[in-house]
Amino acid sequence: MSVATESPAPRNYEVVPKTSPEGSELDGELLEVAMGPQHPSTHGVFRMDVVLDGETVVKLKPVFGYLHRNHEKIAENTSYLGSMPYTDRLDYFCSLTNNWAYALAVEKLAGLQVPERAEFIRVITAELTRLQNHTSVCGFLLQDMGALGTPLMYAFREREKILDLFESLTGARMMCNYMRFGGCRCDLPPGWLDRVRKIVGDFPQFLDSYEALLNTNEILLARTQGVGRLPRELAISAGVTGPMLRACGVDYDIRKVDHYGIYDRFEFRIPLGEQGDVYDRYMIRLLEIRESLKILQQALKEVPGGPIIDPKAKLRSFRPKVGEAYGRIEGPKGELGFYLISDGSPNPYRYRVRPPSLINLTILEDMCLGQSVADAVVTLGSVDIVLGEVDR
């Protein structure tokens, strides 16, 4: 891997170059378009200020903050436990992985041990979250491309089954609020693992049909291959993580690097892309689903009995010692980290979320420049953002 000598600087916004030759019949005025925050094909309340020369993007500024509620400040004014339900609302597609990242950071801060059974439950719920996130994202991407309905609804049909599992385990479909410091909130309901086994067993069949539906579709190939290319040096320098980074061919998965939880016990591979374009990002997600299914099949074989929470963990008046900790996990969207500073009081002194969606947007402009505006929409779709997390 070569080291970038200097990080590519963001562009100077004062000088916007034109792409069409001067004096030609294509030469005209630049057009500034505000895409969003209510545009139906953007993801949530996100705005892109795009300057177009004809159809070519010559400048693109992402604008966010419409959903900003200062989650970090709220968390600094509530107890450690009280922030747990708020983490559900960061990336509302993957509340269980958000719970895990926060619980992991607090466990590091307070030195809690997670019992084996809870670790297995965490892996199973997190991988199920990854399944449903990746299938839906592929559906959303197709939606952005104009395939209205069908792929997304097929994805949602499968997602629904997984959400039903979450509901019977945690009581809520999306706002699970399930994990606790040092374990999980409640034990598995009877027969839950069998239901997971059934869904995990049926999932490859759905994936096969999903891939048959889309992967050889000529329109999809034409719209995604070579679009939104991201060079790998830039991806590393810009801190891009998750499937986007691996689509550029960088072998970096926190499940493999940090071995948090019990991921070192499972055998799975990291799919890597080559081109770093939208097609690679789409394919990487489909391949990651297959790897997640492998993890799930291994984890479901050997869920041990025992307690589900560290007996030392206190629910109320929980006061970690003075210090700080940074805990991170491989969320479906990328590295989700929580940075906590404790001053010994029941509330964290500093609570910081490292949102993968926000940082993956850093290079949105670099990926979209010189492309047509329709490709910018597809490129944004392939980044996989959730505005609850970008704006916090």
């Binding site: 970690p320 940074y326 980290g337």
Partner: protein, 211 residues
Amino acid sequence: MESLEQIKIRLEAAVPGAKLEILPNESPSGQHSLLLDNAHAVALARFLRDDAQLRFDYCSNMTGVDWPDTEITSKVKVKKVIDGVEKEVDEVTKTARPGFLEGVYHLYSMAMKHGPLILRLRTGNRKDQVQLPSFTPVWRSCEFQEREVYDLFGVVFDGHPDLRRILMWDEFRDHPMRKDYSEPDDYEYEPTPHDDVLEKSKRHQAAKGTL
């Protein structure tokens, strides 16, 4: 990965004149951090990124912390002669610590797969010396995160290519993540069981003369 002490020694050798300090972390996480001096920070960061053994090519997390003016009380056991008898007495010393803003960087290496290395930068105070050197030219991932720290904490990053507010709107005046931030009271009227929001809103409206 080399230990923090080794990294510190190598950094001091590589960047002459750099003042570094290891800040210990007592929590079970054991993530100690390295305080850099602002004048040499960018050179140190470049060295950390490009050194063949360290290769911290990935700045994962960048954030700010607000430390307002505070008084630190420390207890020291002192032997004193009281009434002819030597006794051990707790001597409480109070030292005023001036406030500052802090930038915290969590570095990892994608090439060598190690980390984290935690860097800290501190501003002179919280009022007029709020400049920190920007690491955006070194790690592009700092671009939005430094904008966020500028927005929410009011740290001004020298050398940042596009320092604007990111989450709050451009006309917003204060920095919400500072500990002494007081929220504006021009709320939308929404009764809550406590109704303190309503009270606040009424006070505001009365002050403005609209009620």
